[in-house]
């Protein structure tokens, strides 16, 4: 590695941290605002113009809060849990491209790298729930383990259909293959499956079992205060960003918006539209029940994803270049 490349990559990593922070600031404000208007109320109004400074107020509040660690908690994992949750979400962003060539590591199996990182996240959530030594957290942590593992399987299988059609697991190749027709039109079933499982992977309503405030007080982060709670929130927002970004790259054409010229702007636009859609879901739906969530995955989504994979495979062989 030349020193020049090393500096470039270092700057890229710093850039990613900025993106991560910026996304949390934007989504923190935008989610409050959007959900507020869905609720027929204005949302934050007192911090700057229409509450635009609310994320900073939140941040100051979190940083200024006492860092409470329960006496019975497992000190090491109480601290490490949020890290284990947030770091893989962050690492997954390394391979996500914003434009052709505008990516930190354009590796040939980028898609699987993202999935590999997402597989680590449940460890973090389970540890968060277990370490706090609180019954509510424990139930939340166990739920998150069961749910995230169950939904990774149909998610990966439905993404495999995309890989088969695109002929590559490199994310830039997948997007380039959608220059005119997005995969959402070619593979609607895979898209539907991926969308549902991605929302479940993000722990968002109607799959927000880890939090489930009406049953589990605050679920895994019941005992978390201050910036540790901030880290858990960061992990959740970053997971939402990565999930939406993946959907945009795999199914919504990435930087392509035919007939307009490709631009990184489209990726940003689509990602935030998709995140707004997920916030809208939260404003509309009640929560599913835990056993129904497991049932949905194992009895319906996984068989459907496998059948879809088979059908797409046959189509790819019969009509070459489907």
């Amino acid at each position: 590695m030349t020193p020049r490349m090393f500096v470039f990559q270092l700057l890229g990593v710093l850039g990613l941290i900025v993106v991560l922070g910026l996304n949390i600031i934007i989504m923190d404000w935008w989610e409050r605002k959007l959900i507020g208007h869905i609720h027929v109320r204005p949302g934050p109004m007192h911090t700057g113009f229409h509450g635009i400074l609310q994320p900073f107020a939140d941040m100051v509040k979190m940083l200024a809060k006492e860092d409470v660690v329960p006496t019975e908690a497992d000190k090491l994992f109480f601290w490490a849990g949020p890290m284990i949750a947030v770091v893989p979400a962050f690492l997954a962003m390394v391979v996500l491209p914003l434009a052709p060539g505008f990516v930190l590591a354009d590796i040939g199996h980028g898609l699987f790298f993202v999935f590999a990182m997402q597989t680590i996240m449940p460890f973090g959530f389970t540890l968060i729930g277990w370490a706090a030594h609180n019954k509510w957290s424990l139930v939340g942590g166990l739920r998150s383990a069961a749910q995230l593992i169950s939904y990774e399987i149909p998610m990966l299988i439905s993404a495999l259909a995309v890989v088969m059609v695109a002929g590559s697991a490199r994310l830039t190749d997948i997007v380039d293959a959608q220059a005119t027709v997005w995969y959402v039109f070619k593979l609607p079933v895979a898209f539907a499956l991926f969308l549902v499982t991605a929302v479940a992977e993000m722990n968002r309503t109607p799959f927000d079992m880890t939090e489930a405030e009406s049953e589990l007080v605050a679920g895994i982060h019941t005992e978390y205060a201050g910036m540790k709670f901030g880290l858990v929130m960061m992990a959740e927002y970053t997971a939402m960003l990565v999930g939406s970004w993946m959907i945009v790259l795999l199914f919504l054409g990435g930087w392509n918006l035919w007939p307009l010229p490709p631009s990184p702007l489209w990726v940003v636009l689509k990602v935030y539209l998709l995140q707004s859609f997920i916030v809208w879901l939260r404003g509309t739906y009640p929560r599913l029940r835990m056993d129904r969530i497991m049932e949905l995955s194992w009895k319906y989504l996984i068989p459907a994803a496998l059948a879809n994979l088979l059908a797409v495979g046959v189509l790819v062989i019969v009509f070459k270049g489907f």
């Binding site: 109607p206 489930a212 009406s214 404003g283 739906y285 009640p286 599913l288 029940r289």
Partner: protein
């Protein structure tokens, strides 16, 4: 013992598993009031449930013994603080029966009107929590809008939004202007009905909501009767028990309305009955306004009321079910004994029978169906 319960399907034998005791409430964000439920859990399955009550005990029954009959009106307001007019009316009926007081005719219509309006607000509050219990936050804000609007009407009439102190022995405190009544009528006929349609779109027709409520904690009429369950919970089992029709008070017999029932007996049936009652109550209230006769709203009653010696028990259909007021008079100005039969207490005491075998996630879906008010249970 509970582990042998037929609805606990998957308790494994052979392995050594321990059940955990989870204290649900009194400080749980979605607990309704200061209820405390001790749940014994195996994983996420409830093995046993034990309600612990008394966190809101204010000694209302004892306090009543040291106040004159008229002064007790503010106490009954605070029994079931989201169904105030019903309590006041039940208490008034008891005292009027005891002292043989005639009630002014227009007052009967006003009482019926306000009792139905308060039934609407109470059901609206229940509707806010039924969504919230299942993780849907939006319904809560939506149902608060008409509730606030109806409270504005209460405020215009009585000067108070929550604790009206409006009923008097032999009538009501003050007459209501026709313009005010017309305002209520217009609101119920147009805006309120439109909102109810919105609610049906948002929650009643929601696939996830139905799947979470259907078949949940199904009870039969026999079980409900043996547990003393009344009100919408009993009517959801198919039993058309409604004291407004059966006990014949107010002007209900002169109005055109139906007792709302549902035969399924599950959580969805309890939901459906209450939603139907929200419409039916509006119908009753509108008819009251349309047909209300003019006249006096109060008859002459002694300032310091001294009912003759004796006792009286009055049953009343409050929002939650059969509210009983029992008064013993020793001929003085203060009740010798004042006792309340709380419908919420009876409904909550059915929960330990309904909960075992259910998931912890269903706890609030079942608990919300009982629509309890701790202030009335603890008194």
């Amino acid at each position: 013992m509970i582990a042998d319960h037929p609805r606990v399907g998957h308790v494994t034998t052979g392995g050594t598993t321990e059940s955990i005791v989870l204290n649900m409430g009194p400080q749980h964000p979605s607990m309704h009031g200061v209820m405390h439920m001790q749940l014994e859990l195996s994983g996420e399955t409830v093995l046993a449930a034990r309600p612990v009550i008394g966190y809101l005990h204010r000694g209302i029954e004892k306090l009543a013994e040291h106040r004159t009959y008229a002064q007790c009106m503010v106490l009954v307001d605070r029994l079931d603080y989201i169904s105030q007019y019903s309590n006041e009316w039940a208490y008034c009926r008891a005292v009027e029966k005891l002292a043989a007081i005639e009630v002014a005719e227009r007052a009967e219509w006003l009482r019926t009107l306000y009792a139905e309006l308060v039934r609407i607000t109470s059901h609206l509050l229940w509707w806010t929590s039924v969504g919230l219990d299942l993780g849907a936050f939006t319904p809560m804000i939506y149902a608060m809008l008409p509730r606030e609007r109806i409270f504005d009407f209460f405020e215009a009439t009585t000067g108070s939004r929550l604790m009206p102190n409006y009923l008097r022995f032999g009538g009501v405190k003050e007459d209501v202007e026709q313009a005010e009544l017309d305002g209520i009528h217009d609101y119920l006929a147009v805006d309120y009905m439109k909102l109810l349609d919105d609610y049906d779109t948002l929650l009643s027709g929601n696939e996830i909501f139905i799947s979470r409520q259907e078949g949940l904690a199904r009870i039969t009429t026999e079980q409900a009767v043996s547990w003393g369950v009344t009100g919408p919970m009993l009517r959801a089992t198919g039993c058309p028990r409604d004291l407004r029709k059966d006990a014949r008070y107010g002007v209900y017999d002169q109005l055109d309305w139906e007792t709302q029932t549902d035969t399924r007996g599950d959580a969805l049936a309890r939901y459906t009955v209450r939603v139907k009652e929200m419409r039916e109550s509006a119908r009753i209230a509108m008819q009251c306004i349309e047909r209300m006769p003019a006249g006096e709203v109060r008859t002459k009653v002694a300032k310091i009321l001294k009912p003759p010696e004796g006792e009286v028990y009055v049953r009343h259909e409050s929002t939650r079910g059969e509210l009983g007021i029992y008064i013993v008079s020793d001929g003085t100005a203060k009740p010798y004994r004042f006792r309340v039969h709380s419908p919420a207490f009876m409904n909550v005491s059915a929960l330990p029978h309904m909960l075992p075998g259910e998931h912890i996630a269903n706890f609030f879906a079942i608990f919300g169906g009982a629509d309890n008010v701790m202030a009335e249970i603890d008194r």
